[in-house]
Symmetry: C2
Subunit: 234 residues, 2 copies
């Protein structure tokens, strides 16, 4: 994966994904490269759980992660998915609080860990970097506000249509047109806040109506316009 072994990994990662680190000076990137620690984490592993103290942030080089909260009676609520180029855990580090979400690896991942102190070192040295992280936080905040409005106002059917469109945009499709993420019906239900059975029912309705095709957990969107219409997104 590393095209040029003379370049520090962080420089390359940054080039590939345009991470939050792209405002760092070459020296600061070098510093980052020296203090970070990189690990391979297998699918299925839980990186950290809600309530844990975490020692730093994770920068994702490879893989897909599920970020979720545990709500009423242990029910999982998926907050977001994280993918290469994104950073997770900064909320807890910045606020000095225990993690407010759990993170599970959905697809084998390569993660770089940056200690809180090292992060703070960079934040204090480079105001532009702080602004960069602030922009990420603000972007997520805007997305969260949209999420709130959707869950509060839309029906389960509308939300399912919307989430299918989102997943397609976020993860893209493969050669066969299938969305590049494998989620169980239960996970889909835990994104939109409904019962697993409802998702199953609605998916087969969508299929019957010719809106989608199903191949196990993989989904192909056939009639984008109708799906958009159902989702109420414009």
């Amino acid at each position: 994966m590393n095209k040029n072994f003379d370049e520090p990994l962080c420089v390359q990662c940054n080039q590939d994904f345009k991470t939050i680190f792209h405002k760092l000076t070459p020296e600061q990137l070098e510093y980052l490269n020296n203090v970070k620690s990189c690990t391979v984490v297998k699918k299925g592993r839980i990186l950290y759980e809600e309530g844990n103290r975490i020692s730093g942030i994770f920068c994702i080089n490879k893989g897909i992660l599920k970020v979720y909260k545990t709500g009423v009676e242990g029910k999982e609520q998926i907050i977001k998915f994280a993918k290469p180029g994104e950073v997770i855990g900064y909320r807890s580090v910045i606020n000095g609080e225990p993690a407010c979400t759990s993170v599970k690896i959905l697809e084998d991942a390569v993660l770089c860990h940056i200690n809180s102190q090292d992060l703070y070192h960079l934040l204090k040295e480079n105001a532009e970097f702080g602004i960069e992280l602030l922009q990420i936080a603000c972007k997520e905040l805007g997305e969260a506000n949209n999420y709130i409005t959707d869950i509060a106002q839309k029906s389960v059917r509308e939300r399912l249509a919307e989430i299918l469109l989102h997943l397609k945009d976020e993860f893209g499709i493969n050669e066969e047109g299938l969305i590049n993420i494998s989620l169980t019906r239960e996970e889909l239900a835990n994104i939109i806040g409904t019962a697993t059975e409802s998702v199953i029912r609605l998916l087969s309705e969508f299929k019957t109506e010719g809106l989608i095709e199903l191949q196990g957990r993989k989904i192909k969107l056939i009639d984008l316009n109708k799906i958009k219409k159902i989702s109420n997104v414009f």
Copy 2:
């Protein structure tokens, strides 16, 4: 209100509420005081609307503001209330996007406006200030995640109980024990994402069950323990 007319308003405001500006140097506070513009805004006025370009952030010195999005078919979704010491509009300024929420004045307000350029000037000059704003954003993000989980998983009854407790915590109670914020039933419905009639019905159920007392729009919580039990918050 200004106890000492020798001190710039921003210094006093900062002392009263411990705003995001408390990491600024005295010179920077002085600068802020010179570039900000303060206005009195009457109850009922709309400060800005979703989609507007806003020229800066607002720091609240006095009043209560309602921050909301317009969702499906124009239905209002209340995202949060803002009160003295808080700052609004920073999300849009930081991301250089149009406002993603509308803001309405619920109680006569005194607002200080700070231009985007002036904000950026401070952000670039003082990394600590950036971290401070980042902390605010992260705090709001954490709250938004909780909000998502609640709306997605709890019943309307649970959410109503929870929001009553929240409002009491956030705005406090007066001598008579009434929560210090006046919301219409419709606004309560627009916080928890339900129909106005449902809120009306549940409030009168709560009243019948001896959990609350109602005096017009003012609400008094009688049996906190039972309300907590209903809300499923621990």
